[in-house]
């Protein structure tokens, strides 16, 4: 076995940690969201919109979605690293995933702040 230091250069610890931190953020938001849904007086269009009206809810939702995109990036990166043997194809997939998730992030901001 190769004995490596886990600190210093990139040995995947950053990604590993980010995946867990974002997981906790998303789990907490899920709990918050369920509580808000249960407590909402009525869930018609105006009630649903009202849920996302406060600034803090927009920011909490954006934090959840940004966490989701970072989490998803690490996840699909791991899947590509495990199954895609061709370097060039893997590079294309990695770049596509990053671009796509950045588009999703921009789209999320647009959706949330249109309320």
């Amino acid at each position: 076995m190769v004995n490596r230091e886990v600190i210093g250069a990139h040995y995947g610890l950053g990604g590993w940690l980010a995946q867990r931190v974002t997981a906790i953020v998303m789990a907490l938001y899920t709990l918050l969201f369920l509580i808000l849904m249960v407590r909402a007086p009525q869930l018609d269009f105006s009630g649903w919109r009202m849920l996302f009206a406060p600034q803090w809810m927009k920011l909490a939702t954006l934090l959840f979605l940004a966490g989701l995109y970072l989490h998803a990036w690490i996840g699909v990166r791991n899947i590509f690293m495990d199954y895609i043997k061709s370097n060039s194809l893997r590079l294309v997939l990695h770049v596509s995933a990053i671009v796509w998730l950045l588009v999703c992030a921009g789209w999320s901001v647009q959706i949330l702040w249109s309320v």
Partner: protein
């Protein structure tokens, strides 16, 4: 390096339950990633106007849309439960074989039961 036996016929490997939970964690994650455009479209539809909200509501009366929604709800719940189990394992909680098997049963069971509850509410 010594030659080790390679045995990767996926149809003959009998995966233990924790292994099954693990690969389902990956599959559900991939499923949710692929469904992202659908989910964002839905969120946008639901928030844009009363008309688009109603359109989305009408779409949900179709059984096919319900099935897709239920599949995604299962994916989310399984990924969440299996993920919480992984976080516990990271903290060295439940790493014994018996405990790891028991928690796998719980992950599988809880996510399926909760999915059935959501499905009942939706239908």
């Amino acid at each position: 390096m010594s030659k080790r036996p390679i045995y990767l016929n996926l149809f003959q490997i009998r995966l233990p339950l924790p292994g099954l939970i693990s690969i389902m964690h990956r599959v559900s994650g991939a499923l949710l990633f692929l469904a992202l455009p659908l989910l964002l479209c839905g969120l946008q539809q639901s928030l844009t106007s009363a008309e688009s909200f109603t359109t989305l509501q009408t779409a949900f009366s179709h059984w096919g849309v319900k099935l897709v929604a239920i599949a995604l709800v299962w994916g989310y719940l399984h990924h969440l439960c299996a993920g919480l189990r992984h976080l516990a394992l990271d903290l060295d909680i439940g790493t014994e074989l018996a405990a790891a098997r028991t928690s796998s049963v719980f992950v599988l069971g809880i996510s399926i039961v909760l999915t059935v509850v959501v499905a009942a509410l939706l239908w």
